[in-house]
Symmetry: C2
Subunit: 105 residues, 2 copies
Amino acid sequence: MKELPIIQPNEHIDFASYVQQFKALADEKRLIIMNILTRNGKTCVCDLEVEVNLPQSKLSYHLKILYKAGFIHKETKGTWSYYWINEDVVNSILSEDLCCLFRPN
Amino acid sequence: MKELPIIQPNEHIDFASYVQQFKALADEKRLIIMNILTRNGKTCVCDLEVEVNLPQSKLSYHLKILYKAGFIHKETKGTWSYYWINEDVVNSILSEDLCCLFRPN
DNA sequence: TTCATTCATCAAAAAAATTTGATTTAAAAA
DNA sequence: TTTTTAAATCAAATTTTTTTGATGAATGAA
């Protein structure tokens, strides 16, 4: 026989994954990255480095945050890494009004 | 005769207001507030205090961040303050998939 | 007027996120 | 093999955000 979960008076839904996603977008450098990937499609880190004008370790740091939040895909080929927008995830969070800025459609 | 703006090689669009908006959503307490206002409509601070279970100064701090980002309206009547969702702003940022969680429709 | 209530604000402390520069890893080229 | 290149990771320093508890402002009631 299953126990019913005990609901405390002020317990709330768990928004942890939404927090992680909004945090990922809450930084100008990461929005610039999202914008470039939205406009350019799949791009390798070395090209991004030039476009966003960020030192490599900083760019890596920010890409990881976007990746962990699910907003971008990643593929490695040899020594190159390519990143591109995960449209499903982006569309599930962002308004279509943001089309072409941070989401491709 | 007007000067054309000088565009630097790696200048980017200014995303400052988007950053402010995503920052406002990038906190669990503030998402809980958004969720309550989405479900309950216009609510006074004293009632919110009970619902979100936050000390008054903390709640004030978080409401101000949501307010400055444009996500909520505010009205003061006597000593009471009421807050409610600014649907236009919320809808311009958040996907309709988030209906009923952080946007009312 | 005095008192109580609601809410905003403040400054200091604490916690979390970002930057920085160096190092490491892995793959490809010489 | 050795060297080079691309990218990830790391620890320390810095910056930003949040928390905390106290104080202040404004309103209305006694």
